[in-house]
Symmetry: C3
Subunit: 348 residues, 3 copies
């Protein structure tokens, strides 16, 4: 439990209301109870000015400071709300210590405060830093390293030699360190496996969704840099580098050796070819297919992807295509009539 005053102090906001109000949780506007904090955006407010709620107070931006309700006024309400929510959120239950049904290999180093759930597997030579939570059913191969305070959810698989940073979250079903897809062809068109001898590095504060796959490098490593957040079922091929603070929405696929800059955002189901460079702050519309390198700051969409504004115009024109066809035919007829008429007048 916190008081409203404590929270305002913690996040540096302006409080309108009783600082002694107890806050025991957070919730969505319509469900918040009298001891819970909620938040209101100008957009929400404009849609229902007569909003009714029972929340103890609302986190709002300065533009809503006139509301007749207990308020915590801050510049970036969603970010502040997220930070407060983190205070009240608790990770899923995991008993402290190493469960008796977990299998721990030889020469494993588990630092203080590490929890390992039932039926988990930690391969020989692995090192798990303090405060990590390795949930039940996790499979870590040999020589895996995990930094401080990371959360590895049930049934994650991290294969031999992969390195995970601090405060990383990896959701269930995700596979880190599977072989990259690399083959040579012989003279008969048969595929000869190129052994995948590299590894995967996941840097600090990365979050990876459920049922993703991140392949190890052919040589060298596949890298996900600091602060990047990856949704469910995203596929990252061998030797890809994803820069810092990127957002990859669900079902994205990035082909081998492609490099993403920092703060890149990709919508759901985007596909990217191999061996290209995506610049910093590039945004790619959902379902796009990126076939060429992209410069810093560009917004692109489509299959193949073109500048987003051009794609919007292309879509609008495409809907008029059947109409164009009719127009073309009509114009042709008019030209023919003109030609005949002119022929006639010249014949005069």
């Amino acid at each position: 439990m916190k008081t409203l005053g404590e929270l305002a102090h913690l996040v540096g906001g302006t409080l309108k209301g009783d600082p002694q109000t107890p806050i025991r949780g957070i919730n969505a506007l319509e469900n918040a109870r009298p001891d819970e904090l909620s938040f209101l955006t100008p957009k929400h407010y404009s849609q229902r000015k007569d909003f009714r709620c029972r929340a103890a107070a609302l986190v709002v931006p300065p533009s809503l400071e006139h509301l007749d309700y207990p308020l915590l006024i801050v510049d970036n309400p969603l970010a502040i709300f997220a930070r407060i929510a983190q205070l009240f959120a608790t990770p899923p239950f995991l008993a402290p210590g190493i469960h008796t049904t977990a299998h721990i290999g030889e020469n494993v180093r588990l630092e203080p405060g590490v929890s390992v759930g039932p039926l988990a597997h930690i391969g020989s030579g692995s090192q798990i830093a303090q405060g990590c939570r390795i949930y039940g059913g996790v499979y870590l191969g040999c020589d895996v390293q995990i930094g401080e305070g990371s959360l590895i959810y049930p049934r994650v698989t991290i294969l031999d030699g992969c390195q995970i940073g601090n405060r990383v979250i990896i959701h269930s079903g995700t596979v880190i360190g599977s072989d990259g897809f690399g083959f040579a062809q012989d003279e008969l068109g048969r595929h000869i496996k190129i052994p995948q001898m590299g590894t995967v590095h996941i840097d600090d504060d990365v979050e990876i969704g459920a049922n993703c796959t991140i392949d190890r490098g052919a040589f060298g490593k596949t890298t996900i840099q600091e602060g990047t957040k990856i949704d469910n079922m995203v596929h990252i091929a061998h030797n890809v580098v994803v820069g810092k603070h990127c957002i990859l929405v669900a079902q994205v696929g990035i082909s081998g050796s492609t490099r993403l800059g920092h703060h890149v955002i990709m919508g759901g189901q985007v596909g990217v070819v191999d061996h290209i460079e995506i610049g910093n702050r590039v945004r790619v519309g959902a379902k796009s297919g990126v076939a060429r390198s992209v410069k810093d700051g560009e917004d692109i969409s489509g299959i193949p992807a073109v500048p987003h504004k051009e794609w919007l115009r292309m879509c609008a024109s495409a809907r008029r295509l059947p109409h164009f066809r009719d127009e073309l035919r009509q114009m042709k007829e008019r030209i023919e009539r003109l030609e005949k008429a002119l022929q006639g007048s010249e014949d005069d």
Copy 2:
């Protein structure tokens, strides 16, 4: 073993043939043995009128009642065939009772007739209703509830607090209750996790394929309603509502807070943006990208999706595009000639 007469009685069909014929199974037309039932559709029949088979009898619609073969004549042969097949189908082997290598937490309630396979995990406080089959290697978190007669296949993960209805089938590798993908941005463009505090409700008679992901609500819940069938590798984001009796084919992705009505059908690899409403009985063509709300009963296709018939016309026109280009150039030349000719005649 059933007799043909028993089956005819059970499904309310008209029997042409010996009701004492023993039926020990069902099979495809070309493989059925003399003690197996098969089925024949008018389409199949029209393709090979000289069909040869050894089946004990065929389930057919009234339009095929003239065939000189033992027949079970019903209005909806495929549905009847499916019902009969269910009589003969047996779920994969699972020894009754709780396997000694399974890990069962505290305060777990297992009703009579529940089976739990080897190396499965059931977290504290979970309740499993009668007749459920929890296969080996399943991971259930804490406070999970599963209704009667549900089948949870090997290596399914259902995380804390999720609720599963009666007669639900969930296939291997699927993750229910992973965190939704919700982040706020701070002033430096770093992503701050919004804790995902909701849950997932799966209603009665839902089937979910292999390696799917269904995220928990940010607040509140993500819901899959009664009778909906989901294929493999489908991603359902936080707070989505999928209505009753929908069909979502493989690799579909539905973004956050979007609501699907009842009897919606989506082809494979469809993507749907967040916060929209898809009406009842909407059908979406494979690979489409749905970017706007859709009214009841509409058929849509394309990226972005438009009415299906319009999309067909757009595709046809698109193939003529390079030709349009030529036509445009030719017409321009003709116009130029006309302009010159007219200039000439006016100069006269």
Copy 3:
């Protein structure tokens, strides 16, 4: 350790350099150490003629035999390099024998040299041929058969009755033998499950990536033929046949009963409808949607897919679409002026 001479002899190449040079591994050009072999393609060489490396020797094609460096000259350098790499690559660690925490069912046959890792599950009646490596956390159902020397990575699920050939590699998280997606509809639009009674056959030398799903046949079987290589998150529906030596890149989905010929190549995120035939040596561009059968040797792309060259022209024209619109308008105006002018001249 091998000598350069031994390797040259083994792969039948021409050696330029000291045959006694010890080779202890392989590596990428920029990272290779003095006891490692690397390779150089003409493309790489043309990009950086002043390449500097420390490798013991380079595998090159005859066109680079003039280089002043120890060389192993062969016709197909990448294939030869892959073969040599396989000599040095070792599969991830797995202790020989059956781990005490593995669960082995009744009547399981494990041939000599089979290793089974911690917390793995092998169902009753399964047969595992010699030299197979069943990693920790693998789940095999009942009556599963696996041929010689296959590698089943941690957390693979292979369900009852599926058959896997020799030297097959299956990566983590993949599910083999989940139910196909087959339903009949009743008069109320409810979906009635058609029990999926078939199985899956994976032939020799197939490799399947991480988090794939391969459904069992409705009746009969789903088949992946010899030498085919499948990337991560690929979905293969019931009763599909994938021919020999195909390449399916990540996130491809193949619908039910479709048949692929031999040496088919599909780019990432391709989708294929059900019940069609894809000929031998067909190549499908990334992200395409294949809606019709395709003849041997065709290259296709697009949604829906058309011949690849036509698709390239369509893409080029599509980018000019907004421009077409302007041109059409301008031409219309010119035609109108012509018509007025001609009207005027005729009025004269």
